[in-house]
């Protein structure tokens, strides 16, 4: 696989994920964005913190098989 294809694929996937779009590759699976909103976490010592939101990329294989 050429390095150019890797770079081009990276750009397309990154741009589409940032635009909250999914990217499907036949025979492999689907990349999709994931937004994790802020939330509170309470510790056993009584401490309560607010976790910031987070955007990430996740992947779902096509056949759930290797």
């Amino acid at each position: 696989m050429s390095k150019k294809l890797e770079n081009a694929l990276l750009e397309v996937i990154r741009d589409q994920i940032n635009q909250k779009n999914k990217v499907r590759i036949d025979g492999l699976g689907t990349f999709h964005p994931h937004h994790e909103p802020r939330y509170h976490v309470q510790y056993k010592n009584g401490k309560v913190v607010l976790r910031p939101p987070k955007d990430s990329i996740t992947f779902t294989p096509e056949n759930n098989k290797a």
């Binding site: 696989m1 050429s2 150019k4 294809l5 890797e6 770079n7 081009a8 694929l9 990276l10 750009e11 397309v12 996937i13 990154r14 994920i17 940032n18 635009q19 909250k20 779009n21 999914k22 990217v23 499907r24 590759i25 036949d26 025979g27 492999l28 699976g29 689907t30 999709h32 964005p33 994931h34 937004h35 994790e36 909103p37 802020r38 939330y39 509170h40 976490v41 309470q42 510790y43 056993k44 010592n45 009584g46 401490k47 309560v48 913190v49 607010l50 976790r51 910031p52 939101p53 987070k54 955007d55 990430s56 990329i57 996740t58 992947f59 779902t60 294989p61 759930n64 098989k65 290797a66």
Partner: protein, 462 residues
Amino acid sequence: MTLTNDELVKRLAGKLQKSEHAVSEELNALVQELNDAVSKGEEYIIDGIGTFRVTNGELVFEPDAILAIEINHKYAGMEDIEILGADKEGKDEEIEPKEKEDKSDGNVPKDEDEWSPIHFDDPNISNLTDLKDETTKGKNGNGKHESEIKEQLDEVKRKVRQLESDEGNQNEEEPFLEDSEDWDDSANDDENKIVYEGNQEEDHVIDEAVPKEPVVEDPKEEKPPKKKKKRVKRRSRGERTVSGSVAIIVGILGVFFVVGLVWILVTYNGNQPNANVLLGENATQKQTSKSNAQPQRQQPSSGNNQNNGGGLFANPQPGSSNSNSDNTNTAKRSNSQSMRMKTSSPQTSNQTPTTPPTGTSSNNTNLFGLKGDLSPKNTDFYTIVVYSLTDHKRAEEVRNNLSSKNYRVSLTRSRLNNQYIYRVGLGQFKNTASAEQAAKGLPSKFRDNHFIKHVHLKSTNE
């Protein structure tokens, strides 16, 4: 929106400046290579995108670190915000660890309880006070959350019961605490000491006020005596309040007494005619107004007007030449003083109440007067002070100058703040009224700027 494989190929072809067919073949080759690798249990890494591997029979993708940051660019660098501090010792261990497994389909999860114990995207939940509401939400959502909260509630209840039992024993020993409005059931809880610190301080004060011996009494003791003890404690508190108020009042009265005493002493000393006070030009004016306000002050007896700080040490006798030698040593004097001497022309006072000055007359009529020689027999008189100087030579010079103008000039010395003050006075008068009357006939320079001073001289025999 989903970018399909065909659209992906078009975009890649546009970027690579290749045909879609060629790009599609390259992409299929990539997928085939990846599947072959992971099927062998190997990891397949696409630079910049991430790593693919098979875990538990499932193809798993781990994004590249840089790509993860680029996607999370909006929230990159944000850290946890502490809302409530820890009230117990221990590490930051979450009550319910957040589920890391991603079950979303790419969109914001509809039911966020599945991965977040508390979510705040709901606009109705805006602050931490809604945390309690999450206990009810947990019933419908996460059973594990509910169970942990129940455990916590059970633990709290158990502590409360324990504290209640402890409090019961303590109340038998300390019935007063039972009536305290600020008393809280958890006051003895070590974990909540900070919260009830104020109450504990108050209790500490109570313990100081009340002997602890009754406290050590058997808790099984009957209640009536304990109520009596409670009343005693209340009385002790009231007594402390009353005694404190009395102490404050006594203190205030004492302060007033001391201030009044100081004021009386100051006033008494201020009325002393021979008080040794440094009087400059401004002070002279003040003294003048004071003497004007009391023109009828009678001449006090000589025994009560001993001038400790002052004394006639120059020109004690008429015609004395003690100061002649001093005149040869003319000291430096300021221009203003020089002008003063030039303008102090001798004027005969028409208001002189006494006989005209004669030499050393033993007649009583010569004891007082503005002009003439100073009567040595008159050791108790009032004079019109026209100069207060710190330079002895300068004072001698002024005295001689005025003497040459036929004034009765007295030069007295007072000590003030380890410094001698030389006062040049004109005339000898029986009382302040006659002195003030005589001062009206002085040159304007002296008439407007003088003060009356009582002089008591030591006799020549002393």
